[in-house]
């Protein structure tokens, strides 16, 4: 079974690598549901260039014109047409909890259950988001095909594989997180009465956040306008602290600042203290405490809008980031992190398999910096928050949330107010988030060697008369402030690095002759100064070989080839 899965994954990898890009659809376009089984379906879709817009637990949602439908039929792919003409329609994927929810949706528009707990909803005219009952989470379909990112998943990482230790410097940063600031931040947002995205109050809340970020002296603060749901406009607030070492490599911490409540009140009263003034205040607090510290990597602080309408703000941002080729290394999405239905409350970390390392690191950071317990859930079908549009664009992203399924009785109610929140849990969740973010972005420390840059990999071949040994050769520019270097390797991105050299390396080059064939490795390098202090880690370098000897990207190759030619 395992072997079959590996073969199928390899076949899919080849098809995705060599297959055509999604074709532009033309003519009348239908919305179809395609079951994910058999597994070969994915590779067929990739080969046909089908425009897949959402991955769910058991099926895919795709847009398909008549040519696509014919191709699918000829290829033996089963599908169900949900709507034959998608022109000028918006579709929302809606989370449901039972037949009653589906009936509510059908009373408001067209709804089709596509799998247990999930429906697709649309209306003949107008904005479907306004017709969805407030209690139901929803997500708009991705703006472009997500199929390129539905690639074979990495092997499951071992639980507890994170070996990082508590960092005293990060601890001093985390200690700056203030409960008073957090509650003040929630109060400020709650005081706008409503932050429903279509209201001027929401715009005003955005202005307030813009001012708050600006006051912190970050490198850049900007509004990011976008249109959503029938031509409405709203604005994300984006602040950035540029990395000293890797300015083009970005970690994102984000939360949505818009709110909602039942339709009768949402335009006048939607305090959204837990959902999601809490996350927004935590992002603002993270910006405050990190602002004075130079960091290796760029950190982007984002307050999204129109999340409650269908994740439109994050959808716009993630899509634009991918289009611009931005290197977003990881996303921490905080959504509802302050209500405790039980004490002590733990934090849930929702990730897809590509992002599981973020959950492992978050679990460790919670233990190191906040005495906060957590629970990792790897489930790519949990899509109803701002992490999901990043998944759609192939970026690693994590949702931190107090409970999933939700346990907050005030969720999307006018009673979701500051007095219902647990300040201790809120502060712990924020401290863990800041600890993780600081570990990822890496504070630059005085007296330490600079963080190495320019780590590159190539292959080096040793030959005897009748055999050859091909090894991974790592190299990086030498640094004047370093007397040596250490090289670390792991088989699981960002986790459990093992030092490969015994004594610091004198030269800025290292050959890894112990790497096994047909595996993916992740390397980082550090510089060691004359006093023995070790720098932060370089950006992680992935070195991988695909089956056979074909390599992907310029820094990857077949690690070992041995035997007579």
């Amino acid at each position: 079974m395992k072997r079959t899965s590996v073969l199928l994954a390899l076949a899919l990898a080849c098809v995705l690598a060599l297959g055509p890009a999604p074709r532009a659809v033309s003519g009348r376009v239908a919305l179809v549901r395609i079951p994910k089984v058999p597994v070969s379906t994915m590779s067929v879709l990739a080969r046909l260039g089908i425009d897949v817009r959402q991955e769910l637990a058991t099926c895919l949602l795709a847009l398909a014109d008549q040519t696509d439908l014919d191709l699918l039929r000829r290829s033996g792919v089963r599908f169900t047409v949900l709507d034959r003409n998608t022109a000028r329609r918006e579709f929302l994927v809606v989370g449901t909890t039972g037949p009653g929810d589906l009936e509510s949706l059908r009373a408001a528009g067209r709804a089709v259950a596509v799998e247990p707990g999930t429906a697709v909803f649309w209306t003949e005219a107008g904005s479907p988001a306004e017709s969805v009952p407030a209690r139901l989470p929803r997500k708009a379909l991705a703006p472009r095909s997500v199929l390129p990112y539905l690639r074979p998943r990495p092997s499951a990482i071992p639980a507890g594989g994170q070996a990082a230790v508590q960092d005293p410097f990060v601890e001093t940063i985390v200690a700056l997180v203030s409960s008073a600031d957090l509650t003040a931040g929630v109060q400020t947002l709650q005081d706008f009465q409503t932050r429903y995205a279509a209201t001027t109050n929401c715009d005003a809340a955005g202005e307030s956040l813009y001012s708050a970020f600006t006051a912190l002296g970050l490198d850049e603060v900007r509004f990011e306008p976008f249109t959503y749901s029938g031509g409405r406009t709203s604005r994300n607030v984006v602040a950035e602290k540029t990395g000293e070492t890797y300015p083009d490599d970005i970690y994102v911490i984000c939360a949505h600042y818009d709110s909602t409540s039942p339709s009768a009140t949402r335009e006048t009263l939607a305090p959204g203290a837990d959902d999601n003034a809490s996350g927004t205040a935590a992002v603002l607090e993270a910006a405050r405490v990190l602002a004075p510290f130079p960091l290796d990597f760029t950190v982007r602080f984002i307050a999204f809008s129109a999340e409650e309408w269908g994740l439109y703000g994050s959808r716009a941002h993630a899509s634009a980031a991918r289009a611009a080729g931005e290197r977003i290394l990881g996303v921490i999405n905080l959504d509802m992190i302050a209500y405790a239905n039980a004490v002590p409350e733990d934090l849930e970390y929702i990730v897809n398999e590509d992002s599981a390392w973020l959950a492992e690191l978050f679990l460790a950071a919670g233990g190191h910096y906040a005495a906060l317990a957590g629970r990792k859930t790897v489930d790519a079908s949990i899509i109803y928050s701002d992490h999901s549009p990043f998944w759609d664009q192939g970026y690693p992203a994590l949702l931190a949330i107090e409970d999933y399924p939700l346990n907050n009785p005030y969720y999307h109610q006018t009673s979701d107010t500051l007095d219902k929140l647990d300040t201790g849990f809120f502060t712990s969740a924020t401290r863990a988030s800041v600890g993780l973010l600081a570990e990822l972005a890496q504070p630059v420390r005085e007296g330490y060697p600079r963080t190495p840059v320019g780590l590159a990999a190539g292959s080096v071949v040793y030959s005897s008369l009748f055999n050859s040994l091909r090894a991974i050769q790592l190299s990086w520019p030498a640094q004047s402030d370093a007397t040596g270097y250490n090289v670390y390797r792991t088989g699981f991105s960002h986790l459990s690095y093992v030092k490969l050299n015994d004594a610091p390396l004198a030269a800025a080059v290292f050959n890894d002759e112990t790497a096994a064939a047909d595996r993916t490795y992740y390397y980082v390098v550090t510089a060691v100064g004359s006093t023995g202090l070790e720098s932060n880690r370089s950006r992680e370098l992935e070195v991988a070989a695909e089956a056979g000897s074909a390599v992907r990207a310029s820094t990857v190759f077949t690690p070992l080839l041995r035997g007579p030619r």
């Binding site: 030959s463 050859s468 050769q473």
Partner: protein, 195 residues
């Protein structure tokens, strides 16, 4: 395979005994010396090597004779980084040779010169000492020999020889294919005339 080899060895021994019965004299030599490979790749990895060899020279009438023997070459080397590596991978190479020659002998009782030509039966093994890599094979190649012995006692002589082998291996790795394992070897030692 093993039975065939044993059979061939027995046949050779019987023929040898028959030949010895009709031979005019039999000389054995024992020598050691150096080997200089002719292949540049071989030389780059291993440089020159050490050889020990023993031969039996069976002379018949009209100065012709047959010679058989045994030789062993051993050498240590380092794998060559083809694209800039700095690691060190020690190698060892051994070759065992069984030559079968026809020779022509001339000279006096004091100094004997033998010119021989024939084939060498070579078995060789290359090993990486720190990595689990190994290669072994066997080949037959032509051999030319010039041997000189100078009597110092009634039966005992000083012995010297120069040998050329060609051993196209038909194999190779990143540095080249069909590596020739042959070359020149110059040996010095003693020869003893049995009868």
């Amino acid at each position: 395979m093993r039975a065939r080899r044993v059979g061939a060895a027995l046949a050779l021994a019987v023929l040898g005994l028959a030949a010895a019965a009709t031979a005019q004299h039999l000389t054995v030599s024992l020598a050691a010396g150096g080997f200089s490979p002719s292949d540049a790749t071989y030389r780059q990895i291993y440089g020159n090597g050490m050889v020990i060899a023993g031969d039996a020279w069976l002379a018949f009438e009209k100065h012709f004779g047959l010679a058989v023997g045994f030789g062993r070459l051993s050498d240590d080397g380092l794998a060559v980084p083809v694209s800039g590596g700095e690691a060190s991978f020690p190698l060892s190479f051994t070759r065992t040779t069984v030559p079968l020659l026809v020779f022509y002998e001339l000279g006096s009782k004091a100094v004997t010169v033998r010119l021989g030509a024939g084939a060498g039966f070579h078995s060789y093994r290359e090993s990486w000492q720190t990595v689990d890599l190994e290669f072994s094979d066997s080949k037959v190649g032509p051999r030319l020999v010039l041997a000189v012995s100078a009597a110092i006692f009634a039966r005992l002589s000083l012995y010297a020889s120069a040998t050329y082998d060609s051993i196209p291996s038909g194999a190779g790795a990143a540095l080249g294919t069909n590596i020739d394992l042959g070359g020149f070897q110059v040996l010095g030692g003693l020869a003893y005339r049995i009868f």
